[in-house]
Amino acid sequence: MPVAASAIYFLNLRGDVLINRLYRDDVGGNMVDAFRMHIMQTKELGTCPVRQIGGCSFFYMRISNVYIVIVVSSNANVACAFKFVVEAVALFKSYFGGAFDEDAIRNNFVLIYELLDEIMDFGYPQNLSPEILKLYITQEGVRSPFSSKQPLDKPVPNATLQVTGAVGWRREGLAYKKNEVFLDIVESVNLLMSSKGSVLRCDVTGKILMKCFLSGMPDLKLGLNDKIGLEKESQLKNRPTKSGKTIELDDVTFHQCVNLTRFNSEKTVSFVPPDGEFELMKYRITEGVNLPFRVLPTIKELGRTRMEVNVKVKSVFGAKMFALGVVIKIPVPKQTAKTSFQVTSGRAKYNASIDCLVWKIRKFPGQTEPTLSAEIELISTIAEKKSWTRPPIQMEFQVPMFTASGLRVRFLKVWEKSGYNTVEWVRYITKAGSYEVRC
């Protein structure tokens, strides 16, 4: 029995019920009180996302300022339950057009009830794909109470045939004037570096996002410069592998539209895309990661009331490229009294609420190394015996047209019966995941 959820609750941070849906009778109606009493009002909150109270297990997840709680009375599949919540939230977001929070729920609760009925029946997950559901749940999400309230009175299309069709993710008979495909390769770099500058842990999780505006039922084929794919190709064509950088992907997962059998036999990514935006694939790389930044901190504690912080950040990508929105958070002790900075570029300030020096550089060109040097005065405390536990320096950035893994799209081929021409757009971007340097 994968999930058979007995009930699902949406609560705000105070524990008020925003939405509840009881699917089965095997749990009492006061389950939410149990949750409030045993989890929300105790220190338990946030210590474990799965809890058992009485005979029921509670799975809960916090999304912005809402708790989503699934109550289950049997031995349910945990991974499935959490995945369901994540998917459901994605679905709601696509209906509301943006944020999923308490206000959005209050403004759209009727819609949510409708959706909850469709995505789960008697505790079993049904269809959660937004493309299909949007065909027959047409009520438009109300964005804000002030916008014009004109409920759509469109006749409901008899789209139920497609609800469960074989190519569940694509409708027939789409037509676009301009056939365009947008590919976004988004990578996030996770790094953990010791204070001595050695890399403790480093990996890249990337995803390929696709936006399709194509007519008919096109068949797409994507070629990347990954090692296995290239080797297979050169085997097939009896040609030696071209020189050039190849990437070894540790693990790949695909959107359900990708023909996995063909991927296993031919190592090519071929698929019939859904209409609109979707996540084509995700991959993970641990070997041969090009780190875009190196951080070299030196922190000296001079006596009990003074500290000297020097941070040098080096950009190691091409000189023609530049990073955007670089934020470097340098932790300082709680009892910081006064700070003074000198930075070679960008702006820095002391943020007392997070106990950090925040150094922002809007545009950070490649092959440069700005520095920050700061002097920090501390309030001398008598009772303070504990030494300061130095949290890591954290960094945020975005580097357009750069991939930390070196992944490149070699080709994207589109076949369709009518044989139209398509325009393909490819973008690369590398973001910081958790980019931490100990100091």
């Binding site: 029995m1 994968p2 058979a4 008020d16 925003l18 509840n20 089965r24 009778d25 946030g46 474990c48 996302p49 799965v50 058992q52 005979g55 799975f59 997840m61 289950v72 031995n75 349910a76 599949n77 945990v78 991974a79 499935c80 959490f82 995945k83 369901f84 994540v86 609760f109 009727v110 009830y113 409708e114 008697f122 049904q126 269809n127 027959y136 409920p151 008899n158 139920t160 045939l161 609800v163 469960t164 569940g168 996770n190 953990l192 403790l200 999780t205 790949v252 997962t253 959107h255 359900q256 996995l260 296993n264 694939m281 995700k282 504990k386 536990t389 949290p391 890591p392 958790s434 931490e436």
Partner: protein, 987 residues
Amino acid sequence: MDSAATSFSSSTPSPVDYIVLLILRPIAAISFVFVFIALGWLLAWKLVLVHVPLVQEIFGLRKKPAKFKPQTRRISRYYNSINTRNSSAPGSGYPPVLVQCCHSSSIAIIKPNYSRVAISHLWSSLEPPSNRIRLLCSTFSQAMAPPAQSSRNPSPSQPSGKGEVSDLRSQLRQLAGSRAPGVDDAKRELFKKVISYMTIGIDVSSLFGEMVMCSVTPDIVLKKMCYLYVGNYAKVNPDLALLTINFLQRDCKDQDPMIRGLALRSLSSLRVANLVEYLVGPLGSGLKDNNAYVRTVAVMGALKLYHISASTCLDADFPAVLKHLMLNDSESQVVANCLSALQEIWNSESSTSEEAAREKEGLISKPFIYYLLNRLREFNEWGQCLVLELVAKYVPSDTNENFDIMNLLEDRLQHANGAVVLATIKVFLQLTLSMADVHQEVYERIKAPLLTLVSSGSPEQSYAVLSHLHLLVMRAPYLFTSDYKHFYCQYNEPSYVKKLKLEMLTAVANESNTYEIVTELCEYAANVYVAIARESIRAVGKIALQQYDVNAIVDRLLQFLEMEKDYVTAEALVLVKDLLRKYPQWSHDCIAVVGNISSKNVQEPKAKAALIWMLGEYAQDMDDAPYILESLAENWEDDAPEVRLHLLTAIMKCFFRRPPETQKALGIALAAGLSDFHQDVHDRALFYYRLLQYDVSSAERVVNPPKQAVSVFADTQSNEIKDRIFDEFNSLSIVYQKPSYMFTDKDHRGPFEFSDEIDNLTVGVESEHVVAATSVDANETSDLLLSTSEKEETRAMVANGSDYTAPFYDSSTPALPSQGQSELAITGLLGTADPGPQASTAIDDLLMGLDLTAPPAPASAPPPLKLNARAALDAGSFQRTWRELPVAISQECELGSQGAAALTSPQALLHHMQGNSIQCIASGGQSPNFKFFFFAQKAYEPSVFLVECKINTSTTKAQLNIKAEDQSTSHEFLALFQSALSRFGLS
């Protein structure tokens, strides 16, 4: 010239001209302009501005919401008069219901008693919907008469919720019959309000009637809201729910499949037991509907029906229809729903009906599994999870089949949905359980997808995956030894993920990576979150206890001791204590550091106890140990009972080694202990006192016997439980780390019953082996029995018992056998025997004596044994007796080949044994291993025999464990049982 003059004179302006020129003309010009502008505005107003919403708003031109017809017509006036009459005479009971029937234009009067039948009858006869509305109106004016009055004159003193509800009611009533154009929008707003009240928890069930009246509408959103409302309150208002049946049934025949589906879903969600008769028809036609959406809904509806009334569902033969659909439907979602419905139905039926059990077996038969696997790609992700879960139960006949399935499913490991990936992994693991080498390859194959799952998705998802990883690592520790870096904690991760990652790091540590892992763990010791810092220190300790080469780790631990953070010191002390128990050779280095710690800086009881234990144990190596102990003893009252117990023992140990220095401390401690309020402390002090009084050397033998180092710390979970958890891969069991029966079975959860256990406290204290043995027995029994006392309870008791007897081995740190036993011996004595002359006998002998609770069997020849053919025993008392009684006979016997062949299912043997007056209380297992619990009762006495019987049909052996209330007859019973068993399969 003249003319020129005249022309000149005429050109001189007259005063009139001046007036015209200076006043009239400007006025004319200005007024012209104004008129022009005014005309322009007028034009603009008429043509454009009137339609601008903002302008409408400002000038109050917005149209009022549609007004509904005032109640001036004859009939409505008539109803009103009825209402007023009702309210004026509340004691007169229910008024007759008046129904205006337009066909016959006559008035039918129905008594409330048969109103249900009559109304539903009338309903079908009323053709135009407006008449139906009127019927509804009249019915509700009857049912709702008293509240209707309150809506008429709402009093200001009413609580807010009620006032609003009655407001809503009057508005709904106005809308009910109206057909004005804007009425649907108005209804929508009202319905939204009602549902939002419902969500907040205000009871709006009193609006049931009005809501149903308003639901006659083509608007699908309104319908959905109404269905939601009805579904929520039908249970509370079963009588009113009847009225919804009609419109729901009608909607089930709608042209739009969407409406058909929705109506069918809400009809089946009413959950009112006496309305199921109305459900069977629509469900039957829904299952045959040509639209897939309706079929998916109908399948779930059948399951819902089963839960409301199982017999109705079975009588209508829905399982067979579902099975047919499951095998033939073209829609994957229908198949998936059928599958989940049938699994549920047959699971709960299989205990009573053999046919259902057979059908359940059929689900995991080869053709069906292959059918599903071939269609696997059609299913959506959730359906795939369902199918894979089923496939994991399938046992292929040969290895080729194994590989076929695995090849087919390999691509599922690349699926974007983590749940599908985990389900696939489960299939792989289960399929290869019997093939050791392939099993290892599977581990290698699933490594990458699992690691991806950990790092992608929300922290909650990684938590779920990490718990599974932890389980796998326990089974295959080498698996992630090179990937340990994936389990380094990130600064911002929630603590539950960090905690699991720390456990993973501990589990994957081996010779090659210990250094890196311990270095990393030491970083966390300085973590801001104290809980994580503690966990990481504990993790270092655990690694130290696993490894042979502990050099570096001991240094680190000693560094922790010097870190000057109280919680770090505390945790490190506990660890050093455990470490010394395993590696006494390190005592020298450790004691040097421990000696420097001032006991004043250690506050936590556990840490203080550890420190005191070390002081006592290594008294000869620490110069000032007696004096530290003495100062601690002087501040007796400051410490927790746990610490005081340890202090007593430590001072005793110290006394045996350095009597002159410790004498004073001992005196203080014993005096303080004897006057202690805590029972345990008092008893222990008294015991030591008498022991010393009796003989110092034997006291030393008891309190401080020579110890040997602990080689392996006991595992907290038995292998059987671990395997069981592994079988339930990809479920909650993994997260809770216990098999599902412990947390789903109702009987395992009850409140902690202590009194029952108190009586058997002797059993609890006897020795740990006995406790462990009985608890394991209890586990086994309880997982087979349906209603048994809880396993957790027993476990808790065990933990409790060990706390009680050996305070410094809390349940989380595994107990150590050799030394633990001696401590147990002492406290065991304290707990059971009064410390009088008995204490003088050798403790070991006494222990042995305690072990044997069973008196020797009397020699007198008993009369031939007769059994009661209709013995009765409920599961609870079986369980209790089983736990209380010792095993009288344990024997293996031969089943015989025919018997083994006949034993295809547990039921077969049950019937046979019943024929021999031996009843079965629980059975389980699958070929070739079966397990039974039997009981029998003597014919003329209440004394019972309990039998645990494990049969292996492949070896044709049966293992019997017999417990008897009357020990003397147990051998006779054994003979009887064996003869009965050997006859099995012959008849």
